[in-house]
Symmetry: C2
Subunit: 272 residues, 2 copies
C-alpha cells in the first residue's frame, strides 16, 4: 500500500489520527520538502518521535526519479509519502498517484488542511474567492505578469484572490547546471512584502502606460504568515503599505480583497 | 479558551493529534451538525470514545443563540466546538470567532481538510478552479439560477467549478413555522444526480429561449460522494448522463470540468 499523507500546516501534531496510524504501519516514510518549508531543524525529529520511526527527507529528484523503486516496495509493504498541507494540491503527487494505480499498487490519500482552505481564518469567505494564483520571483530577464491578469479578472468579478508565494528549494545556478555540479542555492521564500512590491510595480507601470488596473495601491490585502503555526500572523493593509510590512520568517501568502460583506469587514478590522 | 476544531471529512480518526489533545483538555464539547452529515448513528459514540468525553450535539439555534453562555463558560475553562471539515468554512463560526474576540475570550482554530481542498483527489488541479458555488433545492416557487451564472463565468475563463450541494437539516415546514411548532422535517441532502438534473433543466430552457450556454449536456462533470470516507466514490460523466448516476448515500458534491491539461485528463479517465 502507498499512503499519501497530508501533514497539515503546523507542527507534527497536525497530522490526523488516521494519518498517524497509517504512518506507524509503514516500513518506509518519505518526507517531501520541496514544495513547502520545514519550520526548523527540530521538526523532523519531533515528527520521528511522534511516529516512532525514521523519516527520510526526499526532494523532487528522488520523488520524480525514484518512483519505480518506491512503487516496487509498496507492492509488498506499506510505504508513505508525507506531504505538508494536503497531498493532492501539487501535480507531483498526482503523477505518483497515477503511476501507483497503473502499477496496481493500492494507494490511499489521507487529507489534511492546506492554505487553500485555511486562508478562511482571515475572515474572507472561501466562497468569495476566485482562481488561486502563484506569484513568482522576478529576475532581470524573467518578469512574468500572468498572475496579475488573473487577479484582475477576479477583482472585476468582485472576488478575492489567494496568492501563493514562490518557494525555491534545491535550485541550481545556471553556471552550476551548465557545469553539471550538484551545488544548490540556499532556499528562497517570497515574503508578502516582496509580493506586494511586485504587484505595485505592475500597477504603476500600467498606469504610466495608460492601462489603469482594477488593483490599486489602496486595495486591501491580507498577508498571512506561518498559518497554522503557533506564531501565525495576519495583517490587513492597503497594497502600497504592504510593501513595507515585516511579518517575520516564511512561509507567507497573501489574499487580495475583492468585494466584501459586513461580516468579512468586521473580521478584517481585527488585522488592521 | 474556546477551540474551534475541524474534524476533517471522514470518521473520528480524521481529527488531528493537536485537535484531539485540545478536545481532551475541554470541559465541554459541542458538535455542530447542521452544515454537514454525521455518517451513521455510531459515529458520535466513536468520537466520544476517541476523545474520552461526552459530546453534546448542537444545532444552529443553540450555536447562534447560546453564544453568551458558551463564551461565559470559555472564560474560565476550555470549551470546544467540533466542526466537520475546516472550522472557518461557514459564516456561523466566523461570527462565533468574532464574538469570542470581542468578549476577550482567547480562541484557537484547529484546521483540517474540507471539500474545498480535498476535491483535488479527483485530479482536477486546485489552481484551475474558479469560484465555488452552492446549488440549492428547487421548490415550486423558488427556482434560483444565480449559481448557474457563476458556473458559466468560470467556464468562460476555462476554470473548473466546485458545486456544493444543498443540505437541509432541522428545517420546518411553512405550516409548522406559522403555527410556531418545533416540528422538523427529515434531513435532505442533494445528490449529484439531482444537481445534474437542475443544471440540465437550465441548459435546456436557455437553449429553447435562444440564450445558449457554455455549459452543455456533454460537459464533463465529476461527482464526488462521501469524500474521505472509507466508501468514497468518484465518477466522471457528461452532464446529461450524470442525471442518472447512482452514487449511493450522501454527502455528495460535484465538479464541473473546465479546460484541462494532460495530467488532469489522465486522472479523470480513472473515473469514467
Amino acid at each position: 500500500m502507498l499512503y499519501l499523507i497530508g501533514l497539515g500546516l503546523g507542527g507534527p501534531e497536525d497530522i490526523t489520527v488516521r494519518g498517524l496510524q497509517a504512518a506507524r504501519s509503514c516500513s518506509k516514510l518519505y518526507f517531501e520538502l520541496y514544495t513547502s518549508l520545514l519550520p526548523d531543524g527540530q521538526d523532523l525529529s519531533r515528527l520521528e518521535n511522534l511516529v516512532g520511526k525514521a523519516v527520510l527527507p526526499c526532494d523532487r529528484e528522488l520523488l520524480e526519479n525514484g518512483y519505480e523503486q518506491m512503487l516496487d516496495a509498496a507492492k509488498g509493504e506499506n510505504i508513505a509519502v508525507l506531504v505538508i498541507g494536503d497531498p493532492l494540491g501539487a501535480t507531483t503527487h498526482c503523477s505518483l498517484y497515477l503511476q501507483a494505480k497503473e502499477c496496481n499498487v493500492p494507494v490511499e490519500v489521507i487529507h489534511n488542511a492546506s492554505i487553500l482552505n485555511a486562508v478562511g481564518c482571515c475572515g474572507l469567505q472561501l466562497y468569495n474567492f476566485g482562481r488561486t494564483v502563484s506569484i513568482v520571483f522576478w529576475t532581470a530577464e524573467y518578469r512574468p505578469e500572468s498572475f496579475f491578469d488573473k487577479i484582475e479578472a477576479n477583482l472585476k468579478n468582485g472576488l478575492h484572490t489567494l496568492c501563493l508565494l514562490d518557494i525555491k528549494v534545491k535550485e541550481r545556478s545556471v553556471e552550476n547546471i551548465i557545469k553539471d555540479r550538484k551545488i544548490y542555492e540556499p532556499p528562497q521564500y517570497m515574503l508578502a512584502s516582496e509580493a506586494a512590491c511586485i504587484l505595485m510595480e505592475i500597477v504603476e507601470r500600467r498606469r504610466r502606460t495608460g492601462s489603469p488596473t482594477v488593483l490599486q495601491s489602496s486595495t486591501r490585502c491580507v498577508a498571512l504568515a506561518r498559518i497554522g503555526w503557533q506564531d501565525q500572523r495576519i495583517v490587513c493593509r492597503p497594497l502600497k503599505e504592504m510593501c513595507h510590512v515585516n511579518l517575520g520568517p516564511p512561509v507567507h501568502s497573501m489574499a487580495i480583497v475583492g468585494e466584501t460583506h459586513d461580516l468579512e469587514d468586521e473580521m478584517l478590522r481585527m488585522w488592521t
